[in-house]
């Protein structure tokens, strides 16, 4: 983000740079006003009151921060997905689950049926061959997501980059999406939550699911989701994250190479989470 608009303050005194956190926050604010100014100039879809507020503020400060670069954000040019190599995933290992819980500050009360289940491990045995395998199941980030179709308020939605999320600002907790999801990927928050992390807001009475670690995606530093990081740290590297729309990406190449499959492909949901060795 920092390269989006020229920082009107960065050319000031050097000691300004070393000043307090409040000043840093202020600097960021000025930067962002630049961003807002751009968005006002390019007549983006900001609601009236705020776009007015933004441009008004920018005018107050006399920022000429208009830049040629567009406001970033999610883009439909990418579609994020996961590839899970079941041959590398081992039964009994739940590093990905723990990694997810730590990343999002999810506490475990011990009741598996009411606790958050963003990602779960399943051990399977093939009925014909007797072959066993283990794999994680999380929100499959369907292209045509049933949870998005059924949500009455539109709180369950698909971002432009294919990540299926719950907008907790508009979720009324009707739980219809949980009935609709064929993967049981959605969890309802049954108890009051108090010790949230600022990167993962979650609270009683709303529905949640795997976010594909959007806060990491949006970070712009090409961070991997917490489950993939935890899996690699545990020396399995069974989870690969990447852009499904880019035919040259590692994930796209692997999917082609190993003929990766979707869970319940018969439902024709075009999931963004794929599995090899299924």
């Amino acid at each position: 983000m920092s390269d989006l608009a020229p920082d009107p303050v960065s050319c000031m005194d050097a000691d300004f740079e070393h000043n307090t956190k409040a000043n840093a926050a202020r600097r960021r604010f000025l930067q962002r006003i630049g961003v807002m100014g751009v968005s006002a100039l390019t007549a983006s879809s900001l609601p009236m009151n705020v776009s007015r507020g933004g441009s008004l503020l920018a005018a107050d400060i006399g920022s000429s921060a208009a830049s040629d670069e567009p406001v970033s954000g999610v883009s439909s040019e990418r579609r994020w997905g996961l590839l899970i190599d079941t041959s590398k995933c081992s039964a009994g290992c739940d590093a990905c689950v723990r990694g997810c819980h730590e990343e999002h500050g999810i506490g475990v009360s011990g009741n598996d049926h009411t606790d958050a289940q963003w990602i779960r491990k399943i051990d399977l045995e093939d009925n014909d061959s007797g072959e066993t395998m283990s794999l994680p199941v999380m929100c499959q980030h369907c292209e045509t997501a049933p949870c998005v179709d059924v949500c009455p308020t539109g709180a369950s939605f698909k971002r432009a980059d294919g990540v299926v999320l719950v907008n907790k600002h508009t979720c009324i907790g009707c739980r219809y999406c949980m009935l609709a999801c064929p993967y049981k990927a959605r969890s309802y928050i049954h108890e009051p939550v108090t010790d949230q992390l600022s990167r993962a807001p979650r609270g009683k009475g709303t529905v949640e699911s795997c976010t594909l670690c959007v806060h990491r995606i949006d970070d712009g530093q090409n961070l991997q989701p917490a489950c993939a990081v935890a899996c690699r740290k545990d020396a399995h590297s069974a989870i690969v994250f990447g852009d499904l729309n880019n035919p040259d990406s590692e994930i796209s190449k692997s999917i082609r190479e190993h003929d990766a499959k979707q869970v319940r492909a018969d439902l024709q949901l075009n999931t963004a989470v794929r599995y090899t060795g299924l």
Partner: protein, 145 residues
């Protein structure tokens, strides 16, 4: 009967006048960190809710997390700490959000989900270590330009 009602209404009106004239000039709001807020205090008082809602939509739907009116930044600046140095929830009684919100009797629908204290930053903390080290290593994807 109607006279009684009129009298009661008159009394009510008078009592409101008395309350509004009786010296109380609104809540005393704890000072935040630094010199100024991200925008004028008057502007923030009137518009913070719209700004936060808009920022929320930007973040959740458009993935724009660096907006100027980030909830986490608000909490960072306006949170206060107790004698042991532990942060006090920003929506706790007498703290930044609740002093005003209680005065105007408006409930806050933020902190049932959002963190009401800044994230813990102890170096020993497991998840912070994990997150930071991950950030430092910056596992870049091969396909990214």
């Amino acid at each position: 009967m109607t006279n009684t009602i009129k009298f009661v209404l008159l009394l009510l009106g008078l009592s409101f006048t008395w309350v509004s004239l009786s010296g109380e000039r609104g809540p005393v709001i704890p000072q935040g960190k630094g010199e100024v807020c991200v925008a004028d205090t008057d502007f923030m008082r009137r518009n913070h809710m719209d700004l936060l809602v808009h920022q929320g939509d930007d973040t959740v739907i458009r993935g724009l997390r660096e907006g100027p009116f980030s909830m986490a930044d608000c909490v960072d600046c306006h949170v206060r700490h107790d004698d042991q140095g532990k942060p006090i929830r920003i929506d706790a009684e007498g703290e930044f959000c609740s002093t005003c919100h209680e005065y105007v009797a408006v409930s806050i629908d933020c902190f049932t989900c959002h963190a009401a204290v800044p994230d813990a930053k102890e170096p020993g903390s497991a998840h912070n270590n994990d997150h930071e080290s991950d950030k430092n290593h910056r596992h870049r994807l091969a396909e990214q330009p």
